[in-house]
């Protein structure tokens, strides 16, 4: 992709180049907020229309998996933050290991997610595909619970897609970091992918209570 610390021709200084990249990433994340926002809006309206159905449907997803995944993902955010620190402090070995740790935790998250998806598949909770909330459920219950599961799969699916992209970026970072490309002067990719990774974490911080924690009492 790029050579270490090269100054691109459109910039005047390295400083300008770094600030530009950082601002670009933040603005990209702000578009992501609004992108997920449409889903959150749909969720808000539907939950306020069918509060009881949403709570009933939510209880069929396993709280333990969601809670574990929350811990795993926040853990990966910590290792990512540490990776940024390592790159700033010039600790090349530590950087590689923190990146690998992040990647591993991300993969664990996706693994758990796929177990959850598989459970839903077994329970006929995949929207639009032999959906049956519970044996004998009437058409309306099926339709309304399907709304919940459409949003569940839509939101967690889009989130998982972001995780997969993030994992791809991490693999590239690990590769570059092994080559020793990142220095205290040049670590923009680590910082920017870090920002992205934390953003994905934040999305999950909201998805967890909204999807898993409806009236668990």
């Amino acid at each position: 992709m790029h050579r270490t610390g090269e100054l691109y021709e459109q910039y005047r200084t390295m400083e300008q180049q770094r600030e530009t990249a950082s601002l670009g990433m933040w603005i990209f994340l702000s578009t992501e907020v609004l992108f997920f926002g449409g889903l959150f809006m749909t969720y808000t309206l539907n939950r306020s229309t069918y509060p009881d159905i949403f709570s009933e449907a939510s209880k069929t997803i396993k709280l333990s998996w969601g809670a574990i995944n929350t811990v795993v993902l926040i853990g990966s955010s910590l290792t990512m933050a540490m990776a940024v620190w390592a790159s700033q402090a010039g600790r090349k070995k530590a950087l590689t290991w923190f990146l690998i740790a992040t990647l591993v935790l991300g993969t664990v998250f996706l693994g758990i997610k796929s177990i959850e998806y598989h459970d839903k598949y077994v329970e006929h909770h995949i929207p639009g595909w032999n959906f049956q909330f519970e044996p004998g459920a009437d058409a309306a219950t099926n339709a309304h619970t399907q709304l919940f599961f459409s949003l569940y799969f839509g939101m967690t699916g889009l989130h998982a897609l972001h995780m997969i992209i993030g994992a791809g970026l991490l693999i590239w970072l690990v590769k570059e970091s092994v080559k020793g490309r990142f220095t205290p002067e040049y670590n923009t990719p680590v910082e920017n992918i870090g920002l992205y990774w934390h953003f994905v974490d934040i999305v999950w911080i909201f998805l967890f209570p909204l999807l898993y924690l409806i009236d668990r009492h």
């Binding site: 229309t49 069918y50 009881d52 159905i53 009437d138 058409a139 309306a140 219950t141 339709a143 309304h144």
Partner: protein, 327 residues
């Protein structure tokens, strides 16, 4: 030539004159500004024509007083437009109390109308002159829009809930109505005629063409039994669900302590999404009938429930609170 192009449609309802007056008001303000700005531009255009290729203009950078003025004055005028428009709109959205209620169902690509007596029409709507008419609008499929230009009224017909609109016809005659929200292939021919009649003619027409076989109350009662509503909604109030006697038009006390008026929208919601408003003293047992009833059947059921309005409400009415004194 000029007589062929009128500038506004006939004024045939209580809203028409008011909407037209509003139109004239805004038009006058807009024409004033459009003419003033255009005249200024044309005047400057000729007056300050470049006379020498190397000539430059006079460097004027702005004027705070002018800026303030042309923010404040348009803002004030805009607010008057908003205010007047709001008054008309609020009046239009809030139907008077005693109205003639007519159901209108939009369907790709026809309009079904049901008069209060149960008389049905297709792509025709008969109304009496001088009476407040409320249309209760439902759609079987996509979004439609019921629009009568001569009355200056329209309202979207949205599947999934009732919209209502009202007007008071002021002039007998026949007027176009249109579907005004694009609804698919034959959208352009999904229209018909509103016939405004003298009240006596209207009642004669109603009784003259009544058709007992299509009586919605009978159809509703039949559905009420077919869908097993009778198992719970016992008329003496001892069932698992509240009695529907005397329900329509009254106030219902809900489990969360609030009250609602039992109107068409409430009845419809209670059939399709029963969990939304639980009557005080009852369990949320009722299944939803969403997807199992057409809008027409729901209207039949509503008509039947309406016909129970005159029946005495049982003593153990649960949520039904027809008068203030009873608990």
């Amino acid at each position: 030539m000029q007589s062929e192009i009128p500038l506004y449609p006939e004024q045939a309802s209580n809203f028409a004159a008011n909407v037209d007056a509003l139109m004239v008001y805004i038009t006058l303000i807009c024409v004033f500004f459009a003419v003033a700005v255009t005249a200024a531009i044309i005047f400057f255009f000729f007056k300050y024509r470049r006379k020498d290729p190397a000539e430059v203009g006079v460097p004027i950078h702005g004027d705070m007083r002018l800026e303030t003025a042309w923010i404040a004055v348009p803002l004030f005028l805009a607010l008057t437009m908003f205010g007047w428009g709001a008054v008309v709109y609020v009046d239009y959205r809030r139907a008077p109390l005693d109205t003639l209620d007519i159901y209108v169902i939009g369907k790709q690509w026809m309009w079904k109308v049901q008069q209060p007596t149960g008389l049905r029409e297709i792509n025709e709507l008969h109304v009496p002159v001088g009476r407040d008419v409320k249309l209760i609008l439902a759609s079987e499929d996509v979004i439609h829009d019921f629009s009568v230009p001569a009355f200056r009224v329209k309202m979207d017909v949205v599947p999934g809930h009732y919209n209502t609109m009202w007007f008071r016809p002021t002039k007998a005659g026949r007027y176009h109505f249109f579907c005004q929200q694009y609804c698919g292939t034959n959208h352009a021919i999904m229209g018909g005629w509103v016939t405004v009649m003298e009240p006596t003619e209207y009642s004669a027409w109603l009784s003259g063409s009544s058709d007992a076989s299509a009586n919605p109350i009978v159809a509703g009662e039949k559905l009420f039994v077919e869908k097993a509503c009778t198992t719970c909604h016992l008329s003496n109030g001892t069932g698992r669900a509240p009695s529907l006697n005397g329900l329509y038009g009254g106030n219902v006390l809900l489990a969360d302590g609030s009250t609602v008026t039992a109107d068409d929208a409430y009845v419809r919601e209670s059939i399709l999404n029963p969990q939304a408003k639980i009557v005080a003293g009852y369990q949320p047992l009722m299944p939803s009938f969403q997807g199992q009833l057409t809008e027409e059947q729901i209207i039949d059921l509503t008509s039947y429930i309406k016909s129970l309005q005159s029946q005495p409400a049982p003593a153990k009415g649960g949520g039904v609170a027809p008068s203030m004194g009873k608990k």
